[in-house]
Every structure is written in structure tokens, then in C-alpha cells.
């Protein structure tokens, strides 16, 4: 147990801060519910049931798949100090690419499934990759370029789904239903939960492994700690930036592909961005800090917040945006973790009686 704790670097203060952030968020949520005239216990009960009850768990696991993927899409470049906030665009790029391949490239499932998934990952990866040279050659921060590329990509997908890829005669902007060969196999007894979960978990494992056990993972951490040091040591910062962003975009694109290849098997305008997977993923990644192995735990938490929020809206009539508010509070409290660190350092200094 302690070995596991050590491996995850769960030292006492390191674990306290994320737990504290969640506790503060829960408290804020309770206050908001009280203000809205809802018993917080009922509210949270509805939230948990909205995500975890037998009838909802299938859908919640699908949400978890997307949020875990988006947390990876943020966490991978964050390892080298880059913030990828363009997850929406990458997600949508992956979704629309997978849908286009499925609709225009007939074939048996054994070929079409990997082709669609690959197309999604490539499209997301390609979009995110654009930000790499913009950062390393032009000095435009990744955080800004990913966002500025995201909005046009979402608009482009919206256009595609209304015109070239639209389903004739549908009142909703959406593609036709994808052919059966492009449906990801669902788990027995489930309709939303499917092989996509396995794919994303595989990506997670690879990420954890690369991070801790390969020279590339080491180089990414070095570049994240000090670019000058990395370049001095002969590492190629541009290549590492490109690699992490491409990987991040690919995971986001994979998530988009998985979504359109699941129930209801189409790309529906807004369906990928409206649930807020991107920022739930950002929050999950920030909560996990520099520990990719914790991502499933934090992603699960934010899945409950965002998927459960819909259930809460249904059952006790608390607007689902409360989920977003709670995510935001977790992020804000986490941002203040430096205070805890500084406080501890000051105490250590006082205890040591060292020099000022």
C-alpha cells in the first residue's frame, strides 16, 4: 500500500490538496443548492444516481470514456508545460473525420472500424499539431493558438454537417446514421459503453508507461521544467512539442471518433461540444497534477459531476450547469495549492531556523 502511495507520490500534503479542492467544491455546491432552495443531500444524491444508478451507468461510462480521453489530451502537453485548451476543435475534427470515412468508404467492419478510429485520431492530431510550429517557430503560446483554432474547426464541422454531410430532410443538423460496419462493438448488455473505453484505457496505459519508463517521457519532463536546459542538453524542443501536441490531438480525435461510432451512430451538430467534455478533462488533469496514473480516478469524479448533473436537473430541478461550476471551483482551489506549498516551506524554514 505504501509502495503504491509512493509510486503515485501521494505524500500527505500532495494528497491533501486535491482532496481539499474536492471538499471545497462540494461545500460550494451545497451552498449553491441551498441558495436555489434545494436540500444539498437530495441534490448530491440525485447527482450520484444520475451517474451511477443501474439505468444511467451505461451512459455515464461512455461519458467517462470521453472525459478520460480529454483529460489525456490536456495532460500530455501539460507535462511539458503547454496548455491545450483546443480540445473541442480536436474532438470535433476527430468526430467529423470518422463520420466522413464511415459514410464514404464502404467496407467490412474489420477494415472500417480501424479506418474510422484512425481517421479520427489523425484529424485531431493534425489540428493540434498546427499549434506546435506556431509555438516553437513563431512564439505564439499553445494555449492561445489551440483555442483560436478550435472555434473555426467547430464552425467548419457545423458547416459540413449542415451541407455536404447532412442527412437529407432532417430537421436537426446531423449526418445520416453510420453504416453498421462502423458501429463500435458494445459491451454485452450495454448500448453506449463499447470498445472505445478499451481504446482510451490502452492510451492511458501507454501514456503512463512512456511518462515514467522511456527516454522520451524523461525528455518531455525536462522540457517542461526548463526549455533552456533541454536545448542545452541537445533535446529538440520543437520536436517534443510537436509530438506531445500531436498525441494530445490524436487522443481527443479518438474520443470524437468513439462518440460518433456509438449510439446514435451519427455526428450531430453540438452533440460533441455541448456536454463540456473538454473542460471536464482539463479539470480532471489539473486535479491529477503530474500523475497520469491518477487520471482515471479524477476523470471518474468529473464524470459524476457532469453526467450526474443532468440527472440532478431531471430529479430535483437544479440546473445542470452546477456541474460546470463545481469543476471551476475545483480548478480555482487547485490553483491556490501554491499557497499550501508556500506555507509548508515557510514552516520548514522556521523549523530549521535557516537563513532568510
Amino acid at each position: 500500500m505504501s509502495a503504491l502511495a509512493q509510486r503515485l507520490r501521494l505524500g500527505a500534503p500532495a494528497a491533501l490538496v486535491p482532496l481539499g479542492a474536492v471538499a471545497v467544491a462540494a461545500l460550494v455546491g451545497a451552498l449553491v443548492m441551498l441558495a436555489a432552495g434545494v436540500d444539498p443531500l437530495r441534490g448530491y444524491d440525485a447527482m450520484f444516481r444520475g451517474a451511477l444508478s443501474v439505468s444511467n451507468i451505461d451512459f455515464a461510462v461512455a461519458g467517462f470514456t470521453a472525459i478520460l480521453a480529454m483529460s489525456l489530451a490536456f495532460a500530455i502537453p501539460a507535462r511539458m508545460g503547454e496548455y491545450n485548451l483546443g480540445g473541442d476543435g480536436q474532438l470535433v475534427a476527430g468526430g467529423i473525420a470518422a463520420a466522413a470515412v464511415a459514410l464514404y468508404l464502404p467496407g467490412p467492419a474489420v477494415l472500417l472500424l480501424p479506418a474510422c478510429v484512425l481517421a479520427g485520431a489523425l484529424a485531431g492530431g493534425a489540428l493540434a499539431s498546427v499549434s506546435a510550429p506556431l509555438s516553437t517557430r513563431a512564439g505564439v503560446p499553445v494555449i492561445i493558438s489551440t483555442l483560436l483554432l478550435s472555434t473555426p474547426m467547430v464552425a467548419l464541422a457545423s458547416y459540413l454537417v449542415r451541407f455536404p454531410l447532412a442527412e437529407e430532410g432532417s430537421p436537426v443538423p446531423q449526418t445520416p446514421r453510420l453504416p453498421d460496419a462502423a458501429h463500435l462493438p458494445a459491451f454485452p448488455g450495454m448500448s453506449y459503453t463499447n470498445v472505445g473505453l478499451v481504446l482510451v484505457l490502452a492510451v492511458l496505459l501507454v501514456t503512463v508507461y512512456v511518462d515514467a519508463r522511456t527516454p522520451v517521457g524523461y525528455e518531455i519532463r525536462v522540457a517542461g521544467a526548463n526549455r533552456g536546459f533541454a536545448a542545452y542538453g541537445g533535446l529538440s524542443v520543437p520536436r517534443l512539442t510537436l509530438g506531445t501536441l500531436a498525441a494530445a490531438g490524436a487522443v481527443a480525435g479518438l474520443a470524437g471518433a468513439v462518440i460518433v461510432m456509438s449510439q446514435p451512430f451519427r455526428f450531430i451538430d453540438d452533440a460533441l461540444t455541448a456536454p463540456g467534455y473538454t473542460f471536464a478533462g482539463v479539470a480532471a488533469a489539473l486535479l491529477a497534477g503530474g500523475r497520469p496514473a491518477l487520471l482515471p480516478v479524477t476523470a471518474a469524479l468529473f464524470t459524476i459531476l457532469s453526467v450526474g448533473a443532468a440527472g440532478m436537473e431531471r430529479d430535483v430541478d437544479v440546473p445542470r450547469q452546477l456541474g460546470q461550476v463545481l469543476q471551476a471551483v475545483v480548478i480555482l482551489v487547485l490553483a491556490l495549492r501554491v499557497l499550501a506549498a508556500r506555507w509548508m516551506a515557510a514552516r520548514a524554514r522556521r523549523a530549521a531556523g535557516g537563513r532568510a
Binding site: A212, R213, P215, Y218, V222, Y232, G234, A356
Partner: protein, 528 residues
């Protein structure tokens, strides 16, 4: 104390500033121990000592940056309590720090009047500010354009802006902290003219330095510090370089103890005709050629900012030369990046340790692994063994005697000397044919400095070739077999270790080639 009283009665008027019995400790370190210092009005007073002698601490007390543990600060004979530089400014004190505190994108006039602006209705009166700068400059014989943006100015002019800033705030006592460290020889001369002029007009100047030549050239009185206590109070006109040096280091100058290594074989590094143009923030390099053989330390001497950094970066692959070739063991390195060059046998200890040589947030072990992470035992077939990273770190830490709480602690927890040992350990561990070293003992205490020198000489003894850039003459004398002097991007003198006396080197750094008996200089703690 008696000394201070005597000075006052002799002069009739109280001294412009006086420190009495100042003691300051940092944790277990006693930085300054019961020091008295008397700055007579209108004099230039040298506060001299080696690095770590306590002179900076003493001046920080005078300028309100540190509160003394014991002792008094007096201005014009009255005790003042200075709890911040603001109090010091209000008391008529000014300080020009080694690292200038100027606003680069603001004009000279804006910098000078900042927070003390001539203003009408909240609007800065620009012409009044510019007139003020012109008037102050004229008074002390400076030529400064008040409308120029500060970041377009050379360092020497920026220093003048700092002086004007202090004068605008009515400073009567001006502390100059190692003012010549960043200056070109010409700028040093004109700084001393300005200092003299200010003293004539009644400003009292405290000149903090470790360069004996400057003491003799520019000051009236000298107070020498060693290990936190005053070892001599001298009148410049009646003293000699030898007397000052002896008070500084406790003994006379000793000849360099640096038996030349056995130089053999083909040169490891051959630089020929390297040129680089000047750019904003970068010095030019003019047609530099040099060679370093196995078992040889070649030193590059010169005042900081004369093209040394640019030359080194062209050797290690961080910068592309405009013309010329760099060869390593006969192989032309043109077109090769840092990684390839390191692979061919270049190791590098950079000058900027926090910004380039280390990553403060990473562990000691991770800092030691850079460059070794793709070769066994750490990296093997695309895998990296965290265990091997720790093992290598533990081994290097033990072998070099790095004082650290472990290899998993962040590098930021190490002292400067130990952090530098980490850098050196990593680079020496490459056993590369060529080791490029910049300022190896900068910001390092004396004991660690000596160990670092020993490590470099051991490396040379094993047949390694070392290219050493240092601004400290004593360090060059302690390590180098040959010394090249760089001035304005060109090599202006090349000396054998035997000929590279401090006088000759000092003169060449200032005036270019040829001997010029400008006096004696001593470097930092390395000589001890």
C-alpha cells in the same frame, strides 16, 4: 569605534555616513562581525575584499536592505534606522546595484524621474524631466540622451542612468556595487572620471570592488574586509597594491601553481576564422581561431560581454557562425546541432546555471541524467530505467561530495556550490574529449571552488581538453596552460601560462595586446 571618533574630530564635521559595530549573521554564518566604516564627505571610499568577505552584506546594511543584528548606521552624525531602501533613499543614500534596476522600455528621463516625477495635474512634465536629466548629467560631466530608450543603450550608459536616478533623489552618499564588472575598458575609465567629479561636488562615493587596480586608480580611502572583519584602513595615496592584496587575502601574491600538463597528439578542438555579427543582446565575434589539445586547458580571458559567450555557443552548437569552421578531432562540425556535437564528444558547463545548466524543479537525479538518458545503463532500447537514474545519481553525488538530502530532492534545495558540482558531475561523467566550461566557480563558496578546480585539473590529467571561459584572472592562472584574451569579439593576446601574470593579463583585457603596467589585480576566492 575609536577609529570613527578620531575621524570625526579630525575632519571637524561629522562624516557623511558611518557604520558602527555592524554585525550580521545569516543562520550559522557570521557575514559581518563588528565592522566600523567611516565615509568622509566628498571622498571616494573603496570597500575591498574577496567574494564572501562581507562587503556586499555591509553595503546592504547601509542601504537598508538588511537589518543589522547589532550596530548603528549614522548619517551626518545622526543615527538613522533604515528598514528598507526607501528609508535609505529618504536619508540621502543611493545605490547602483550590479544588476541594474532599470525599465528597459522606458526612456532615460522616465527612468530617472520614476516615482519622483515633475508633474502638473497628474501629467508628467516631460520637458522638465528631460531638462533635469540634462542638468544632472552636465553637473557630473556625463553625456546621456534623455529621450533614448534604455534598452537600446550599452551597459555603461545604463549605469550612468542609475547614477542619475540616485542624484535626482538627492543622494549625498552613493554606493557603487562592483560597478566595473559589466563595463568595457573605456567605460571604466570614464566612470572613474564621473566618480571623481561627483566627489569634488561633495557627493560621497562608496566603491565596492575586489579589483585592486580600481582601488588605486579611483579612490581616496580604502577599507579592506576579510572574513567579515576589517583588516586594514588605508589612505590610497600612501599605500601599495601589495599592501591591499595582503590585507585582502592574508598573504602576498603567490605565483600560479599550475604545472603544465603533458600536451600530446592532434588538437581536439580547432576553431578557425569564426565570425559572428553583433545583434541586439549579442556581441560580435571577429575572426577567432584557437586550438585545444588533449591534456590542455585553454583559457579565454576578458571582461564579460566581449564575445566569449557567442564563441562558446558556436562551439557547442547553440549558435551558427556566420563564417569559419569548428572542428572536433578533425571533423568539421558545420550543420550539426547540440545533440550530434555532444555525441561526438563535447561536454559543456554553461555560465547560466539556473537558466541553462539545471532545471530547478527537477530532482537531483533527473538533473544528473540529462544526456545520459539514452545510453546504458539508464536508457536501453527505448526504455529508461528509473532505478539506473537513481543509482547513477547516488554514485556521482558520492564521488563528487555533493551535499544533498538525497537524489530525489529538487535541485532548487541545493546551495550554489553543490548545484554547480551537479552540473560538473553530469558533464564530466560523459568523459568527452572536449569540456567547455564557463565561469566554473561563479557564485560558489571558496571550498567548493577549490574542489571544482581540482576536478578540472584531474580531467586534464586524464588527457581531457578543456576550453575555459573565466572573468577571474586568478582562476585562469590556477587552471589554464594557455590564455587567450578576448576584447570586442577578437582575440587580442595569446599568452603561455608562464607569461600570463596578472599584470599582463589585466592590461590585455583592458587595452588589448601588449603589456601595460596598469597595476595589480586579484580575482575572487579562487586564489585562496
Amino acid at each position: 569605534m575609536t577609529d570613527g571618533t578620531a575621524a570625526r574630530s579630525a575632519a571637524g564635521a561629522p562624516p557623511a555616513a558611518e557604520l558602527r559595530g555592524i554585525t550580521k549573521r545569516f543562520g550559522p554564518v557570521l557575514a559581518v562581525d563588528g565592522v566600523d566604516l567611516v565615509l568622509e564627505r566628498g571622498t571616494v571610499h573603496a570597500v575591498v575584499g574577496e567574494n564572501g568577505a562581507g562587503k556586499s552584506t555591509l553595503m546592504s546594511v547601509l542601504y537598508g536592505l538588511h537589518r543589522p543584528d547589532a550596530g548603528q548606521v549614522l548619517r551626518d552624525g545622526r543615527e538613522v534606522r533604515l528598514s528598507s531602501p526607501l528609508d535609505a533613499i529618504a536619508a540621502g543614500l543611493g545605490m547602483v546595484h550590479q544588476n541594474f534596476r532599470l525599465f528597459g522600455s522606458l526612456t532615460v528621463a522616465e527612468n530617472v524621474v520614476y516615482r519622483a516625477e515633475p508633474a502638473r495635474f497628474g501629467l508628467v512634465d516631460r520637458s522638465a524631466a528631460e531638462r533635469r536629466v540634462e542638468e544632472l548629467s552636465a553637473r557630473i560631466g556625463l553625456d546621456v540622451d534623455p529621450t533614448a530608450r534604455v534598452d537600446t543603450l550599452p551597459l555603461g550608459v545604463r549605469q550612468r542612468v542609475e547614477i542619475l536616478k540616485a542624484l535626482h533623489r538627492q543622494a549625498e552618499v552613493l554606493i557603487l556595487d562592483e560597478p566595473t564588472a559589466v563595463l568595457t575598458p573605456g567605460e571604466v575609465d570614464s566612470l572613474f572620471v564621473v566618480v571623481r567629479r561627483m566627489a569634488e561636488q561633495g557627493t560621497t562615493v562608496a566603491l565596492v570592488t575586489h579589483k585592486v587596480r580600481e582601488v588605486l586608480e579611483a579612490t581616496d580611502r580604502v577599507t579592506v574586509l576579510r572574513d567579515g572583519v576589517v583588516t586594514a584602513r588605508l589612505t590610497t595615496a600612501q599605500t601599495t597594491a601589495g599592501e591591499v592584496v595582503e590585507a585582502m587575502i592574508g598573504r602576498g601574491l603567490v605565483p600560479a601553481v599550475n604545472p603544465r600538463g603533458a600536451v600530446s597528439g592532434e588538437p581536439v578542438l580547432e576553431v578557425s576564422g569564426v565570425r559572428m555579427p553583433a545583434a541586439p543582446g549579442a556581441s560580435r565575434v571577429q575572426d577567432v581561431s584557437l586550438r585545444v589539445s588533449p591534456g590542455e586547458v585553454v583559457g579565454i580571458a576578458g571582461v564579460s560581454g566581449n564575445g566569449q559567450r557567442e564563441l562558446v555557443e558556436a562551439v557547442v552548437g547553440l549558435r551558427t557562425a556566420q563564417a569559419g569552421t569548428v572542428r572536433l578531432r578533425g571533423r568539421d562540425l558545420a550543420g550539426l546541432g547540440v545533440r550530434e556535437r555532444r555525441g561526438l564528444g563535447i561536454a559543456y558547463v554553461p555560465e547560466d546555471r539556473p537558466g541553462v545548466g539545471t532545471a530547478a524543479a527537477l530532482s537531483v537525479a533527473d538533473n544528473l541524467a540529462l544526456g545520459h538518458h539514452r545510453t546504458p545503463p539508464i536508457g536501453r532500447r527505448g526504455r529508461l530505467s528509473p532505478r539506473a537514474v537513481r543509482a547513477q545519481a547516488a554514485d556521482l553525488v558520492r564521488r563528487l561530495g555533493v551535499k544533498t538530502a538525497g537524489v530525489a530532492v529538487p535541485l532548487s534545495s541545493l546551495s550554489g556550490g553543490n548545484a554547480q558540482k551537479v552540473v560538473l558531475a553530469r558533464e564530466l561523467h560523459h568523459e568527452a574529449a572536449l569540456l567547455v566550461v564557463e565561469q566554473p566557480t561563479q557564485g560558489v563558496d571558496v571550498g567548493a571552488g577549490e574542489e571544482i578546480h581540482r576536478l578540472l585539473l584531474d580531467y586534464r590529467a586524464r588527457g581531457g581538453a578543456v576550453l575555459l571561459v573565466s572573468y577571474e584572472i586568478s582562476e585562469l592562472r590556477a587552471l589554464a596552460d594557455r590564455v587567450l584574451v578576448m576584447l570586442d569579439g577578437a582575440v587580442t593576446a595569446e599568452l603561455d601560462a608562464a607569461d600570463a601574470t596578472e599584470e599582463v593579463l589585466g592590461a590585455a583585457m583592458v587595452h588589448g595586446g601588449g603589456a601595460h603596467a596598469a597595476g595589480t589585480t586579484t580575482g575572487g576566492g579562487a586564489a585562496r
